[in-house]
Symmetry: C2
Subunit: 431 residues, 2 copies
Amino acid sequence: MENINICIAGLGNVGSALVQLIEKNAEFVKYKSDLKINIIGLSAKNKSKKRDFDISNYFWVDKPIRLLNIQGKKPNILVELIGYEKDISYELVKSALNQNINVVTGNKAMLAKYGNELFSIAEENKVLLLFEAAVAGGIPIIKTIKNNLFLNKINKISGILNGTTNYILTTMELEDKSFEDVLVDAKQKGFTSDHEAKLDIGGYDAAHKLTLLTSLAYGSEVDFELNEVEGIDKITIEDIKFAKQLGYKIKLISETSIIENTIYASTKPKLVSKENPIANTNGPLNAINVETDELKSLYLEGEGAGGFPTASSILSDIYEISNSTGYKSLGFTNSKLVKFKKFNSSNLESKYYLRIRAKEQPGVLSMITSYFNEANISIEKILQIPDNDSDSIPIVITTHKIISSELLSSVKKISDLDFILGYISLIPIEN
Amino acid sequence: MENINICIAGLGNVGSALVQLIEKNAEFVKYKSDLKINIIGLSAKNKSKKRDFDISNYFWVDKPIRLLNIQGKKPNILVELIGYEKDISYELVKSALNQNINVVTGNKAMLAKYGNELFSIAEENKVLLLFEAAVAGGIPIIKTIKNNLFLNKINKISGILNGTTNYILTTMELEDKSFEDVLVDAKQKGFTSDHEAKLDIGGYDAAHKLTLLTSLAYGSEVDFELNEVEGIDKITIEDIKFAKQLGYKIKLISETSIIENTIYASTKPKLVSKENPIANTNGPLNAINVETDELKSLYLEGEGAGGFPTASSILSDIYEISNSTGYKSLGFTNSKLVKFKKFNSSNLESKYYLRIRAKEQPGVLSMITSYFNEANISIEKILQIPDNDSDSIPIVITTHKIISSELLSSVKKISDLDFILGYISLIPIEN
């Protein structure tokens, strides 16, 4: 069992979720990874704010810089979740790295501005500065590019990197509301604050994230100035409707590629064809498409924000730092593999589709439905389609949720009826 | 620079693509990873078969087992791509692991059958047995679960894991053809062989892959017997049409979850709602959805088969084995980061959407279009919508591809016309 001592600076949505996640999953993490994650210090702006966990269980410091030395002890990892405020986060992260402390951060604005310097300091001091949580919340896009596709030549990365603007555009369309009205809603729901809204709507938050993806993909120095940025504030409900009429949706698209040895990194609204899965990425979701020399398209979609999804990304960085992979081809060591029993699927509940072919004669349908009634199987829809080329008819029935063994026994009875032809096709339905 | 010596057994689609990929990207791989991948031995059934690379550049052995000792030299990694044939692959992989040679394989059938034994041997001998290429071709689902989501509790994995059956189901719908006819097509196009077709269509290939995902997700011993398997051979074109009428598509869905401490691992046809992105995964694509305690949904879609996409997964395993991560937070070491120039995007070509609001007076539209004509800007569509509440009208124009600077200069001229009101909305279009 290896002890990993971490300190957390910043207890907003993500920081609070991380503390709860580590509390809740302590046993699971120990079992799966042989890691014991100890939170040895916390710091946030407002100690007395109401939180979803008991801060009295933890060592508290008012000044985040004091997290780097908790009663004479250096943490293995500093988790920086303060956000970008007057360079406090930058000074803190820099100090940690200079003291050979690994850092995990969700702070894209800081990295887009100071990344070059901070990544250099990390490497010189032989520690890691990881940032899965800084881009696309719960989608592990950083590790996908850095570890899983590292020996692919990346041609283009494009997608939706900001959930707030995507929520606004989606809601404008669904509720037929103006940009301004939806923005007020979004602020009231806590999706964005005045300060954040400026970065979100102006496209800057997405461009901060794209700056990091550009570096990962092309080995480019971290340089926010490479970005072209245009926000969504000029998009009207009229534009959204016209776009729809033309077969498109309007999305804030961030994309990066190398053209003629220069970087084209752009964040701006685009009309995206309805056939493109990115067009159907709705609400606060994020989506990213990666094109490489060998892969025409690798598409990832998931929650781009939110406390727990983002905390999951923080945890994956803690694991990357702590895990000396060893020889675990399955992630688990062999001694931890469990012999499971197979589930008895006759107890499974599902909606079902049935296709029955019957002789065309009066009363067929009512006979069939009466068998269902007897067995208490609730029918959702029936299609009875005349088939002119044949003296038999197909009957299609969809059911409400039903235990599969019960349905099977009714189906068996029906198949035995003399007006039923061939087999009854039975397929479960998934929404 | 680290030398990685590999041997490749099996030179079908994937093996051949791998050799070409390593040849083509040698400089790129050296630059990016400090690894020099040397192919020190090749073996395949038929030496004289026509191939897309020159085998005379490589050391050839007829018996794959001889790859484990090339002129007295042990490879660092054996790449096993023979496929599942009479246990040759199993014996080869076992010998390699017993001689402390790492193995990378694409052989799901072998792993589904012998995985428990082979993973144990690997761990005992302190080597890795990696298999990214065995599941979902170019989609890095193994590393996503094993590395990126390792400290998430996985609730469910579901998706389309076999490209051939998905191609058949998609083509039946699009071309209104019977299952049998499309299968003949698929064989003629080389998507599947008689032997493979049995595994594909019967659902077994997908179930082999699901067996591996079940182990990764739940730490379950590798056990094919946990699977329920049903193929697509009973799906008729009638079923596909009825499903469509009801708002669904029929897909071969593999899914694994833990229910009441038992494993429910099922591969069978299901009706999937058209709103679900999996329903829109067409042709030979694969798609996988992962649900965890912290992530409602992480969705990955990409090429599930094919030589180069799958070779890219093999390469990612070679990288995982060879890369001693060091302190490269960006994957690249800092000394390799490049200062790029920003692309001059006024040269960018795109289709565009324009919304213009004009006073309602005769000749407005022809004035506007004449400006476009003069500038050689080709118009795709025009929408002119009467607006009864106003004495102005919106005019929406979409263009064919055009250099953005040229469009901008025309738009500027048009904005200056006295009958134009407000700003002209200008948004690029992406298909």
